[in-house]
Symmetry: D2
Subunit: 320 residues, 4 copies
Amino acid sequence: MIGVAGLGYWGPNLARNFDDLGVLCALCEVDADLRERYTPRYPNARMYAGFDDLLADDAVRGVVIATPVPTHYDLARRALSAGKHVLVEKPPAMRAGEIDELVALAADRDLVLMPGHLLLYHPGVRKLKQLIDVGELGEVLCVYGNRQNLGIVRTNENALWSLGVHDLSVILYLLDEEPELCVAHGRDFLTEGVEDVVFCYLRFPSGKIAHMHLSWLDPHKMRRLTVVGREKMVVFDDMELERKVTVYEKAPWKRTDTYGEWQTRSGDIFVPKIPTDEPLKLECQEFLRLVAGEGDRRKVAEDGARVVRALERLTDSLRG
Amino acid sequence: MIGVAGLGYWGPNLARNFDDLGVLCALCEVDADLRERYTPRYPNARMYAGFDDLLADDAVRGVVIATPVPTHYDLARRALSAGKHVLVEKPPAMRAGEIDELVALAADRDLVLMPGHLLLYHPGVRKLKQLIDVGELGEVLCVYGNRQNLGIVRTNENALWSLGVHDLSVILYLLDEEPELCVAHGRDFLTEGVEDVVFCYLRFPSGKIAHMHLSWLDPHKMRRLTVVGREKMVVFDDMELERKVTVYEKAPWKRTDTYGEWQTRSGDIFVPKIPTDEPLKLECQEFLRLVAGEGDRRKVAEDGARVVRALERLTDSLRG
Amino acid sequence: MIGVAGLGYWGPNLARNFDDLGVLCALCEVDADLRERYTPRYPNARMYAGFDDLLADDAVRGVVIATPVPTHYDLARRALSAGKHVLVEKPPAMRAGEIDELVALAADRDLVLMPGHLLLYHPGVRKLKQLIDVGELGEVLCVYGNRQNLGIVRTNENALWSLGVHDLSVILYLLDEEPELCVAHGRDFLTEGVEDVVFCYLRFPSGKIAHMHLSWLDPHKMRRLTVVGREKMVVFDDMELERKVTVYEKAPWKRTDTYGEWQTRSGDIFVPKIPTDEPLKLECQEFLRLVAGEGDRRKVAEDGARVVRALERLTDSLRG
Amino acid sequence: MIGVAGLGYWGPNLARNFDDLGVLCALCEVDADLRERYTPRYPNARMYAGFDDLLADDAVRGVVIATPVPTHYDLARRALSAGKHVLVEKPPAMRAGEIDELVALAADRDLVLMPGHLLLYHPGVRKLKQLIDVGELGEVLCVYGNRQNLGIVRTNENALWSLGVHDLSVILYLLDEEPELCVAHGRDFLTEGVEDVVFCYLRFPSGKIAHMHLSWLDPHKMRRLTVVGREKMVVFDDMELERKVTVYEKAPWKRTDTYGEWQTRSGDIFVPKIPTDEPLKLECQEFLRLVAGEGDRRKVAEDGARVVRALERLTDSLRG
């Protein structure tokens, strides 16, 4: 029922998960060595060399695209055109125009178009979303992400596209709003044209703001999102083993006895137990749910487009 | 020899330090209660109610201005005009035009004009400067400051002027360069027109960049400066008791055997012992040195002006 | 109403607190310089050179003893004999026989005999006690203290008496039981006969156990108490600014489906807001309450004796 | 050349490492399912069901014993009697008499008898040993280990044998001395006769002391060894990712101007880069070196015996 295209870096993880879920029926990879390696591992899946062959396989209802980034848009378009539901690795496209086209195509044919924003399926991020949605934090004022490290230096993708796509997808998911202002600054210290350090600022129509500090030239190893609400603040820290999410009863308040001056108060700190479910498995299950007609497939596609649009605007600002 | 004007919040600390150094000869304070409180504590200092009386005291060679911020420029101007050396609390002026006028006045009369940027006299910051200047870090690429907290909410000064002035003075001191680009973004969540959360980006002619994340609505208590060099990285963390400065042997490097691809390497981490000298005492001693003709008084005044100019440009960007 | 004897190291803090509470009427100090220094600061308190003069002051109902440790027992005995309520710095005596005599004397005359175990009045320790008493932790199994540092090396008191008295008073307060086994081991590395590193093990009739790791030759700065309950665990960490007490939903449990094998589970972590009240002020207030007839003065005296008895047994074990 | 007996929990890791090193020629496992699972994975190794068959394989020069603990002694004895070199998982025996017999047997036949104390091959522990041996720490005074966690609760082995064997092997390796005093205290809270919390104290003829805090009922996750020297202190913390070893310039010192009173001083802190080599691979390589005649095989066997002797004495103390 599910076919996975691309068995290079991330594809094998997707193949394994869909196989564990009992729905993997086809694989597709242009590299002969990789085909040879994975063929014996998945005896129940047909192995194709060409993407069109995969699309021609009638048993395949959903196509998972884990090929190199520049091919995402074209393969997703072809898969949708062939009437397949699509889960496409992030970013699903490199230009807003492309993703808008994909969204329209999926809407026309009532197909699933789901981008693989893994972090959205992290139980810690789900906890943030829930805390916001039930009003636990009060009005959300500011969300900011820190994704810093002395890590893998890429030469084909800058820190915004490589690191920022994670935080951006979460920020837009949490706030569920299209930013009205997208500003980015940064520098390409190592490879010309590929920014290693990027700072992004977003402003939303509701008045909320967001920020991202992205760098692979940094002494701190940080993967952290902070949400500042008017009543509580919450931090998702993916470097923590046991304290992924911390809720702070910290807030400004107006003392009535001091003529409206702002004070601050700090109360309890709470670290809720976060389930240890594997985000990738949850992501794959979500795709299957959407294919099965559950959930809001239009919103999922549109949310993915919002991320690409914001990335494009941030890129324009960065380069401008 | 030294007269201190303003005995409200910070002035008493300056008075005490100059008294300990044996050079306090006069005090000036408009509030009668404060005059009454401090008169017995400093029997060797004359107490004045009016600033002009202080200036008329011929024994006073240097005037220390610790009055409310909006008065700084005017009092500094009058003190310089009266031929007094001046140590003025930060910020010495609120507009670039004002500080430029003060600098010119001091230069004309060959007087000291020293802004009270306390953090510059922190032994940890001195250590950063030394590491940079001897080339230990290699070429400096990026400096960024995090000054965040759920702290005192001000209604007369925004986070940029209240918190950012500290980091900005240090960043400009470390890089010793005038920024060519100053961009700021932020929001006034609590008091209209007073930004609680501010992000600043600076770019320098040499290609270096700097960033400041400033907020008094934050769950994290951070007072941290990070310097990313091409060979080492160093962090000054003022919340640490024992590890104020940490030097990381972390750097990108080009493997010759992989066709020039960038890799990264991590080596030793070093936490040098930082002297526990009181920064305020060191600041007061520096003023006395400058008054005594040692050091470069023109550079000190000009450095102070550079901070005000950058603050003004950041403010324009923030409001724009 | 309250007279404080001893104005050396700790006495001035006690004097200040009782003065703030409006009940300080007398001071006593053998050293003339100290008498001269403190006389002007406390104009409402009579200053005595001799302890007998203090005891002869009829206005003094309660005597606070903050003199050197070897004098505690004798002065407390004389004060009780003179009909005064007594707050005596820790340890109130160096031998079990002495403290038992003091307790009997206080009981006979129905006087307060309160040892100055400051840590018992820390709001964080009170929180531990409350969590235990309401059953939040389930059955308490083990309590252990870590008091380690590269700190003040004493030559007249070993780590057990200097550091351990704090943790021991808290452990006995929390468990409210007399230990049936007291074992100590350690070494005197710097000064002969004065142990720098001491490990203590206590076993209680209920089966609970306790341990103390005490050292002033240690790279870690620790002031921490851990309580392991059968349902929750809680840590009091006095080096933390904002997280003094942390409650862990961590416990062993028996899975019914695995034939009674023990498993463990980890749940939420909770950091309750702890009041920032000054422990010394709370201690002084408690003394006044006891003097005023509130609370259980017999239990307070007996609790103090229990600490001295355990210290004596641990000392015997250490030396044996 | 190497045969691995026991493919349950840990044996497969040993098999894989020796296979990677190109020397695995035989496997032995009584369980048919496990034999079936591992036979195809190691096509170059003969698979035996019986230990005697393994011993009868002339190609096998060294036998690796990874069977359940109670079988270690007997299988090691049989392997040595058959003229095979032996690497046996820890503990190699449960009684001092047994290990002494094995050591004698190995010495008689000049065979390797190496216990699998994995932690000894951790590059961080090697760093501690090196720092001690070159005198960097000055005279070593005290070593202590903390191995605490809410972790796996065992019912067949207490915390001393399950957790303590790691720290004990390292402590004896670092100090290279036979303890003259071995005391242990603890309690069996969950399973009768199986202590969950154990405290051990050791004293050595040189005057050094050591301590172990062992528990699987603890809120803190600690795997830490601290070495206190007279000139420096060093900590090995296996829970740290990047700071496995930290060297503190912290020491007591005698000021000459204060009549020989002890003071303390704190200087730099240093975190040397520790190689990320896999300890198990290093352990396997060490076994091959010893088999090849390099290194001191007598000392390795004797060191292993020292650990078992200390465990036996601590067990006697714990139960006594």
